[in-house]
């Protein structure tokens, strides 16, 4: 295929360039034909998928950029640096658009903590995010923490970044203007991370002899991060944009210089000459292919006019950021058919020998597309049939509930979650809520809300419906802070695409996301696909992670949280029963999974019913954010762990018990399906009347008070027991000797 493009044999350097650019990680060659089905349109969408980040118009002259990525395989091998450079990479994607990064979120997936290696991974990943994110000066405002054996040899480290910019300053990574200069900013180029996208990100782990075999051979492909370099690079790049000194700007991530130069040239329809000898190196004796494909961190490529070079050099010197002219924008080459072709030429000196010459778009956009075979897993029917919803309860519901309680505070306490004075609701709640503000932005009274969500347990049973429900769950989380969802980004973590079952899961999941986004009126504005998440031939459960961005029109008062007050009435808002063959399905719940029961069905996705409950709650909370007084005193989405878990979390946070009516058995305690909210009110009649008008069902659950959580005859736990168990669960697991 390369031979067809070039009409000759490629030399070894050219082959290396195609090798990294046509890797799964860079080219999405297995997933692209499926991703096209996602809806991407919306009146407020300024930039959709395919750019460095998606961008929406948030109002008041402010645009919000958002992006999510995975750094799974580097983190499996070297958790601190893998996670740290994941943060660094996503920040560059966002400030490439001209946006100041304002928030990071980290959905993390590990094996069970009874395994010492998992504890090492958790501590390494969390300290990597903390060490890099805090120092680089971007708050980490939330994420997710999931433990499941399917991630034991292949943990997932996803990272989402959101930034904002004055709408008129939006920048795209385009090289234009023949004669312009390509300037490499930031770090020197070394041998770290060569082939990161192909060796690491686009291959599974053999893991035949257990986790030990993961490490050593691939460790040199992991990059090393320097947050101080990145911090100065952010400030320098934003200052260059403020001063109007750049034509286009592009981050250097996977596949390094070859990726940045070919993408900017292809987008601009111009040629690019890169002088490989001009690139500042960290070590002697590097081969051109190493220089061109190195993934050394903290580098950016700026396209500038020659007249601005002095100003650019001066500004970069102030921030102690290295700036080097490494390329020239040149006329496209005219081929024998008279067509203009944007060529990427790698030279030894600008007038020197041409080491490689390939059409830029052939690297950036014309990787082969695979329509890989798909098949529904043969054992899925049997798995679905083995439904735990029919199980008789065994043991004490009290113990089952305590077993589900985990406070992730040990993780998020290590993250600066408050920088920039925007954080109204920080980590550990249903969704994060920020003021829409930051250096260089016009004043706005608006807020933005962010949530990341996943449910691999659902998606293993039914990737299509599981993904739809995951989107719904995320929209419901935003409603709890008063936000209306505006856009979706996704990080699709799947196994080996060469397994037809994995391709089927991916395709189904994309269809489920499409269905949910169309049903709920949401555009997908960006995403990332991470394949080859396998080890020893075992694929992870399908793990589509969604990141939801929402807006609160007026944010002058904090929304109510999980803390309820003595004497409040507790209500369940939304349909009490699932839309399912079971009133309270248990398939895919945390309750069932903790008992080793991984089969069953997931509830149906019903956009209309979901939207009614979600819109009602979002409206109730939004009016509180706008400063209107309300009888609503607390709100919590019913999510993982079900209704009993939601109630216990509210007990733990408020240090106040509750008396709840008898429920329909253990299944209602632990069943999981979105579109339900626990809310408290100090005027239940008024609240029910408003819900009636909205056509949303409300079930009276009980009242707040006392030092005990009592749920009918099933649950009877002291507030202290609930709170201390929740508070200590994670730290006790991490401290286990083993």
């Amino acid at each position: 295929m390369i031979r067809e493009v070039l009409d000759r044999e490629p030399n070894s350097l050219e082959l290396a360039l195609y090798g990294v650019m046509w890797s799964e990680h860079c080219s999405y060659k297995s997933s692209r034909i499926h991703l096209r089905r996602l809806p991407t349109e919306g009146a407020h969408v300024l930039v959709g998928p395919g750019e460095n980040a998606g961008v929406i118009d948030a109002g008041d002259g402010i645009a919000v950029a958002i992006r999510i990525e995975s750094h799974n395989h580097p983190s499996a091998i070297e958790p601190y640096q893998g996670a740290a450079t994941g943060v660094g990479g996503i920040l560059r994607d966002v400030f490439t658009m001209g946006a100041r990064p304002l928030a990071v979120m980290d959905p993390l997936f590990f094996g069970e903590l009874s395994d010492a290696r998992q504890r090492w991974l958790v501590e390494g990943v969390v300290s990597g995010i903390s060490g890099y994110g805090n120092s680089v000066g971007v708050p980490t405002i939330g994420g997710e923490l999931t433990f499941d054996d399917c991630y034991a040899s292949n943990p997932l480290v996803n990272v989402l970044c959101c930034g904002a910019l004055p709408t008129e300053r939006l920048v795209l990574g385009v090289a234009s203007g023949v004669g312009n200069l390509a300037v490499l900013l930031g770090s020197s180029t070394g041998r770290d991370g060569i082939g990161g996208v192909s060796v690491l990100a686009s291959a599974g782990f053999d893991g035949a002899d257990g986790a030990e075999s993961l490490d050593d051979a691939k460790r040199p492909s992991v990059q090393v991060g320097d947050p101080y370099e990145e911090k100065r690079l952010i400030e320098a790049c934003l200052a260059l944009l403020d001063d109007g000194l750049v034509v286009g700007i592009q981050d250097l991530g996977g596949a390094g210089i070859v990726c940045a130069t070919s993408e900017t040239a292809a987008r601009g329809g111009v040629g690019m000459d890169v002088d490989v000898s001009a690139i500042p190196l960290r070590e002697a004796g590097m081969e051109p292919f190493e220089i061109m494909t190195s993934e050394s961190q903290e580098r950016m490529l700026a396209i500038i006019t020659p007249e601005n070079w002095d100003a650019v050099a001066k500004l970069c010197a102030k921030w102690e950021v290295r700036a080097t002219v490494i390329g020239h924008v040149v006329e496209p080459t005219i081929d024998e058919n008279g067509r203009a072709v944007a060529m990427l030429r790698v030279r030894q000196g600008f007038d020197g020998e041409i080491l490689a010459e390939v059409p830029a778009s052939s690297l950036a956009d014309e990787a082969p597309l695979y329509d890989r075979p798909m098949s529904r897993p043969a054992d899925l029917d049997a798995i679905n049939a083995d439904d735990p919803s029919d199980d008789e309860p065994v043991g004490s519901p009290n113990d089952d509930l305590l077993d589900l309680l985990v406070d992730p505070a040990w993780v998020y306490r290590q993250y600066d979650s408050q920088l920039f004075l925007n954080t109204v609701v920080g980590p550990g709640r249903d969704a994060a809520l920020l003021r829409l503000g930051g250096p260089g932005l016009p004043y706005s009274e608006r807020g933005i809300a962010l949530s990341t969500d996943s449910n691999p347990r659902w998606c293993a049973l039914d990737p299509r419906t599981g993904t739809s429900l995951t989107v719904a769950e995320s929209v419901a989380n935003l409603a709890c802070v008063g936000a209306t969802a505006k856009a979706v980004v996704n990080c699709l973590n799947f196994g080996n695409p060469e397994h037809p079952e994995v391709m089927w899961q991916l395709s189904e999941s994309i269809d489920g996301m499409t269905e949910a986004c169309l049903g709920l009126g949401l555009p997908v504005i960006g995403g990332n696909v991470s394949l080859y998440n396998e080890s020893g031939g075992h694929d992870i459960d399908p793990t589509p992670v969604v990141g939801l961005l929402g807006v609160v029109e007026s944010l002058v008062a904090p929304p109510p949280g999980w803390g309820w007050r003595e004497g409040d009435d507790i209500v369940l808002v939304g349909t009490r029963h699932a839309n399912s063959q079971y009133r309270f399905p248990l398939g895919g719940t945390r309750w069932a999974t903790r008992r080793g029961r991984r089969g069953g069905h997931v509830p149906n996705f019903d956009a209309e019913t979901l939207a009614a409950a979600i819109d009602f709650v979002a409206g109730e909370i939004a009016s509180i954010c706008a400063g209107v007084s309300s009888d609503v005193t607390a709100v919590h989405d019913v999510g993982a762990g079900g209704l009993a878990t939601a109630l216990a979390e509210m007990v733990a946070v408020s240090q106040l018990g509750a008396g709840i009516v008898e429920l329909e058995g253990h299944a209602e305690l632990f069943s999981e399906f979105p579109g339900r909210f626990v809310m408290t009110t100090n005027d239940v009649d008024a609240f029910v009347a408003r819900a009636d008008v909205a056509g949303v069902p409300v079930t009276h659950l009980g009242t707040v008070g006392g030092a005990v959580l009592r749920i009918g005859s099933m649950i009877n736990l002291s507030v202290d027991e609930v709170a201390s168990r929740r508070r200590g669960a994670l730290e006790e697991s991490l401290a286990a000797v083993g």
């Binding site: 805090n134 000066g137 400030e235 408050q418 004075l421 003021r435 002058v556």
Partner: protein, 227 residues
């Protein structure tokens, strides 16, 4: 209206937040790049939080050599008010403008969480508007915030009322729960908690207002802002 200089080192990251707190109370904030050698026309100096010079070597160890620090030292010597917040406190300690040192937290992890501070002395520019015993909810955000000093220094701090703020519940292992100290004259103050993050009920606490009002010399009779 006062002109407050907010010193910016490469790697600082709380400079915008410190400036916002100053401006919220009606004063003017001006960024001072670390290579500047004068503080002409400046009425007060804030060294904000962050990771000056990447915190390489150890927090504050390189920043003390930035050219601006000689000017800060002269400014402090003439009685000018100087406030170091978090990394700024670490810089002041490294520069010898405040006694003691800041070690890694007892639990050896970074900690970002609300804390309750107890005002223990009002003889400093930061705490002069507060009451002794007053409790203030102000967040911390640091890895190396455990205050330590030798016994002799400690006795002197106690004797002179230089311990200005203590944690109600010690989060990081600081000696005697110390959260903030002042120099003997009371014009140079450092604290690990971030009062600029506690300026608004919307963000969880407005208890930092009384501290900034003191630092900015807002007349006492002027009522505190509600939010």
């Amino acid at each position: 209206m006062s002109r407050i200089g907010v010193v910016v080192f490469p790697g600082s990251n709380c400079e915008y937040d410190a400036a916002a707190a100053v401006e919220r109370l009606g004063d003017q904030a001006e960024f001072i790049w670390h290579t500047r050698t004068d503080l002409d026309g400046i009425d007060g100096v804030i060294l904000p939080g962050g990771f000056a010079h990447g915190d390489y070597l150890r927090p504050g160890a390189l920043a003390r050599f930035s050219p601006v620090m000689a000017a800060v030292e002269r400014f402090a010597a003439t009685g000018g008010p100087v406030l170091g917040i978090c990394n700024g406190f670490q810089v002041l300690v490294e520069a010898g403008l405040l006694p003691g040192a800041l070690q890694k937290n007892r639990g050896l992890t970074f900690l970002c969480q609300p804390t309750t501070l107890v005002v223990s002395s009002t003889s400093s520019v930061l705490t002069r508007h507060a009451r002794v015993g007053q409790e203030l909810v102000v967040p911390i955000n640091h890895f190396s915030g455990s205050y330590t000093c030798d016994d002799e220094t400690y006795d002197e701090l106690v004797r002179n009322g230089q311990i200005v703020l203590r944690y109600k519940e010690n989060p990081n292992g600081s000696r005697d729960d110390i959260a903030g100290v002042a120099n003997k004259a009371g014009n140079v103050v450092g604290l690990m908690p971030h009062p600029e993050r506690a300026m608004s009920a919307l963000l969880g606490s407005a208890d930092g207002v009384v501290l900034f009002e003191g630092f900015l010399g807002v007349p006492l009779e002027q009522p505190a802002l509600a939010n």
